[in-house]
Point group: C2
Chain length 130, copies 2
């Protein structure tokens, strides 16, 4: 955890930076989550996405409950050194905890948010097993 | 500014949410910036990306200096209602203030960040004219 490439990143006051997960093949933006230093170090080492869960206040190994892991292909950092972009292969084709392909399933149409993606698997099924 | 679709969004304590700009054609993630309520309302009305500049503490009409506007095709909101995704047509093919196509031009290779995109136009040229 002393690697200098981790020091390049401008961690926020809470020690976190936002992370975009983008599907490597399709280019689809799947989700945005957060990482701290430990999460990024483990992600880079294991090539599986590990985030920091702000609600649960602990490391969140993506797919640990649902089985929907993200195999990390590449890791990018933006010009301000404070946002990460991962290209990933999404296991199971479901990134969102609602059971949808992507978390960005609400589209602004006129003055309404319209759900434009179907639920592929109900959340009860996603988290009921294991 | 009283539109209820704006109330759906969980604005942060600072009144902001992160916004991803993705190129509509290529699917390339261009940049991440921030919006407040006013910025999003203007973006939706004008279909040109307007952000909130945290450094300058004012509305930032993307391209106001560089001419590199972003024509907004669609606006998406994530499952937690706290991150926006815009699909845009990037004028000039340069989204980054460094004169690169995208802001995510640093790729992790081993334990080093390597610049993997060329400067298409020097920043002095981007901001020298108007």
């Amino acid at each position: 955890m002393t690697a200098s490439w981790l020091d390049t990143i401008k961690w926020g006051q809470d020690g976190l930076v936002p992370v975009i997960a983008q599907e490597a093949g399709s280019g689809k933006v799947l989700m945005v989550a957060w990482m701290n230093r430990e999460a990024l170090a483990e992600t880079a080492r294991t090539r599986k996405a590990v985030y920091w869960s702000r609600s649960r206040k602990r490391l969140w190994r993506k797919g640990e409950e649902s089985g929907h892991e993200q195999a990390v292909r590449d890791i990018y950092l933006d010009c301000d050194n404070d946002v990460l972009l991962l290209t990933v292969e999404q296991q199971g084709g479901i990134a969102c905890h609602t059971g949808r392909y992507s978390c960005f399933f609400q589209q602004l149409q006129g003055d309404r948010w319209v759900v434009v993606e179907p639920v592929l698997k109900p959340a009860t099924e996603l988290y009921g097993k294991k």
